[in-house]
Subunit: 192 residues, 2 copies
């Protein structure tokens, strides 16, 4: 997606440790008009009419997914990352490693909101090593639901998480894949 | 807001410990069409033309705030709740007590995205004791920004957090204020 790539080049920053800082428009301050155009772009790749539910993980996936859900007229569900008192009863859980916080995190989804056969499109803002997406796919599988695909805004191609999902046969589309990201030097993978 | 109150009565559940469970439409599974109508309702109370930025706290405030931001054509900013490597440089911080997680939590906002004079509307899904909102107001003040008001979807009136903010002169509007919430028995405060 050309607009997203240009925005990464103008407003993004590569920090030491392979960190792509895009907190001015994606995952701290959020440009919701851009999110809306990203939602439209995802709709070119996925058959939204055959999707029942959008799924993401808290926290940074929520803004983009909410706007997709509103535009598509679908409900969204976000996996929580810690046990809170506000979730009772049966849960699907999947343990992942958060490289951002350098600790294990458990993704939680209530069994009330995802059923066998539910057609799920996973949305996320960022794909690096793919741990959060692996956990979400695991939850979809536990539920006996159907994974329609995964839409990601930005993928760190050089970390391999996306290609690993593709090799597993997941219908993954990322709108900007960075194959090189060094301070002052970003190379995007060609569009599909 | 009549629709929201009816939804609380039909789909909400009061659990022991004063917990209002609305995870079927507000803070786990999210009904984004309802969020959109909540956004329109907030716009009746606040002069959106004179707002520069919508501010909320992760995670449950993000979906509603993103949809408000999209509908109003404004940027949004969400306070993070733990120090991550992806936020460099200057931060505004405010320590709050999370009754949900029963521990102290620090709200973080990058100084890059809120300036002196920025006119801020705070949005949140839930107001109980008001700790998160107190922290967000504190950050607005530290930044020298201007607090236009606070829009909340659901307020637990009986916990007093909202009334305390009103007594401090904050322009707070909640769309459904629960003055009594016991299993099987909910009483809403009259609309303003």
């Amino acid at each position: 997606m050309q607009e997203l790539k240009e925005r990464i080049l103008t407003d993004g920053k590569v920090l030491p440790g392979d960190i792509i800082k895009v907190d001015g428009f994606l995952n701290h301050r959020v440009d919701c008009a851009l999110m809306s155009r990203i939602a439209d772009e995802f709709a070119r790749f996925f058959d939204i009419d055959n999707v029942d539910l959008l799924l993401t993980a808290e926290a940074s996936g929520i803004a983009l997914t909410a706007i997709c859900a509103m535009r598509y007229g679908k409900p969204m569900l976000y996996a929580k990352k810690a046990k809170s008192d506000n979730i009772e009863g049966g849960l699907f859980t999947s343990e992942i490693f958060s490289y951002t916080y350098k600790k294990k995190v458990t993704l939680l989804v209530s069994k009330d909101w995802i059923q066998p056969g539910t057609r799920v499109l996973i949305i996320d803002d960022f794909l690096a090593r793919g741990e959060a997406l692996r956990g979400l796919c695991d939850i979809v599988k536990q539920a006996g639901a159907e994974l329609v695909g995964i839409g990601c805004a930005i993928e760190k191609g050089f970390q391999g998480g996306g290609d690993h999902l593709r090799e597993m046969g997941v219908n993954l589309h990322s709108l900007a894949i960075l194959d090189v990201a060094e301070p002052g030097h970003i190379v995007f993978r060609d569009d599909e």
